[in-house]
Amino acid sequence: MLERTGVPTEEDLAKVIPPEERRKRGPYAVFECFQRIPCDPCYPACKAGAVKPFDDINDLPVVDLDKCNGCGACVAACPGLAVFVVDETFSETEALVKMPYEFLPLPEPGETVGCLDREGREVCSGRVVRTVKGKDKMATPVVWVAFPKASCHSVRHIALRRGVA
């Protein structure tokens, strides 16, 4: 299915979304990387040692969620823009997702944005908490967005609402 649509299926996602017990403990990385391709920059990017070393560069990334602290270094490093950090403990009602965002202008903290799912459909409104620009201008910026918890497994992109009445 993913090969035909470009959208991971529920089954694909079930493999990378951690069990509830881990989700309640704090932020965790979700690696939406389901196809064997020659790629491994997520491994050196993770200073916590949570991404296991690759035996074969074509292997899928394997994450030790006990070591993952949700820092988001892998989000900025992944050339496939396939990694997201989800924090379901952000507040009573909201989850926080750190997502890669390579568009200009970058959203400002406090800004209200549209939250889009994996097919680009708007599912809810969100609030930008932080925009991390990275070391140099070529790094992938990471935007932290808070929105209602129920959508934390579906929201993967944002749309700015500037200029929209």
Partner: protein, 360 residues
């Protein structure tokens, strides 16, 4: 007559790596490119590369191109000739060049052909309307010259180039109406496909262009679904009102120089068309002529860089440089095998086996 030990034709990822490898062993290299700056297709690759740290994974193509170009331009062993076109190679080792409307003869001991590839065209009614571009041209307009190609684009081809250029169009604020792919599956990496789906861009697999519309310029495109025999299914037509259609339907190796030099050529569909038969060192059937990069078979830039490096060392070693060639060769072959090992490398593996005359 001017002389050089190793001429490298083409200063893209393969040619740059070939020149740097050969020069690092002490060979005198002349690097030739018809553009005004080196880098080849890297100059417009604004996305981050895959591969591993050894191949600069996670670095954007333009940065890799800039870095390699600077190293090549400042290397005392490399003479760079830009805006210079290779016209022909003759058996006595003379490479004929054109630069500033002047004809130049260069006596070479070895030649590495890293000329790259050209974009394929697609046959459909009105395919000559202005507004119909190759994906490479669109990338050059946007990423090199900063020009928006239009307002609304239909992308044809869901290989990595089609997916990446769609993403870059969206980054430039251009609306991408859809990506159309004749195959039943997306050919490019799933992560690239997911990236553009998130933006709301549909990908229509098993669909192709029926015809383009417009009087003076492109005004719209009709696409339709294909049956398993690749025939359009009447009644499934969809019209997109777009002012740009971007074709990313594959590349063919640029091999004129190899044909003309008399290298044995073989048609291998998986490698993009006719390519030169060669040995492990990337040396063709004409002694002293090596191939690297897309000219030797269309592939990803990371493999082109490793292949270029191998050809550079091999050419240098054949002139008596590079004493530890066997170690360097082993390393390069290992890296290539690794890059081609996964399912996305299957096509290349098949193509290379066919080229060697092995069944796969």
């Amino acid at each position: 007559m001017r002389e050089t030990e190793i001429a490298v034709v083409g200063a893209g990822p393969a040619g740059l790596c070939a020149a740097l490898a050969a020069a690092s062993c002490g060979a005198a290299v002349t690097l030739i490119d018809r553009e005004e700056r080196p880098g080849g297709q890297l100059v417009k690759q604004t996305h981050k590369f895959f591969g591993s740290e050894r191949q600069d994974a996670g670095t954007r193509g333009i940065d890799i191109g800039r870095r390699l170009s600077e190293r090549a331009m400042s290397h005392p062993g490399i003479r760079t000739m830009l805006e210079c076109t290779a016209l022909g190679y003759y058996a006595d080792g003379v490479l004929c060049l054109e630069q500033n409307e002047r004809f130049i003869k260069l006596k070479v001991k070895r030649m590495i052909v890293a000329t790259g590839a050209s974009e394929r065209m697609l046959a459909f009614p009105n395919n000559d309307l202005p507004g119909i571009y190759g994906a490479g041209a669109v990338q050059t307009l946007m990423n090199v010259h900063g020009v928006r190609p239009g307002d609304r684009v239909l992308m044809v081809g869901a290989g990595n180039i089609g997916l990446i250029v769609s993403y870059q169009l969206a980054q430039a604020g251009v609306k991408v109406a859809a990506v159309v792919e004749a195959l039943p599956k997306i050919g490019g990496y799933a992560v690239h496909a997911s990236k553009i789906r998130r933006l709301g861009i549909p990908i229509l697999t098993s669909h192709s262009v029926k015809e383009a519309h417009g009087k003076e310029v492109l005004e719209g495109v009709t696409v339709w679904r294909l049956d398993p025999g690749w025939r359009g299914i009447p009644g499934t037509e969809m019209r997109f009102d777009v002012d740009v259609m971007c074709l990313a339907v594959g590349l063919s190796p640029l091999t004129e120089l190899l044909w003309q030099a008399g290298c044995e050529m073989k048609y291998v569909a998986e490698l993009g068309g006719h390519v030169a038969t060669r040995d492990d060192n990337l040396e063709t059937t004409v002694k002293g002529i090596f191939v690297a990069g897309d000219a030797s078979g269309v592939e990803e830039a990371s493999s082109a860089m490793v292949g270029g490096r191998l050809a550079g060392y091999a050419a240098a070693a054949s002139l008596g440089y590079c004493p530890d060639f066997e170690t360097k060769k082993k390393q390069a072959l290992w890296e290539l095998a690794e890059l081609r090992a996964g399912p996305t490398g299957e096509k290349i593996r098949k193509g290379l086996a066919a080229l060697r005359g092995e069944a796969c």
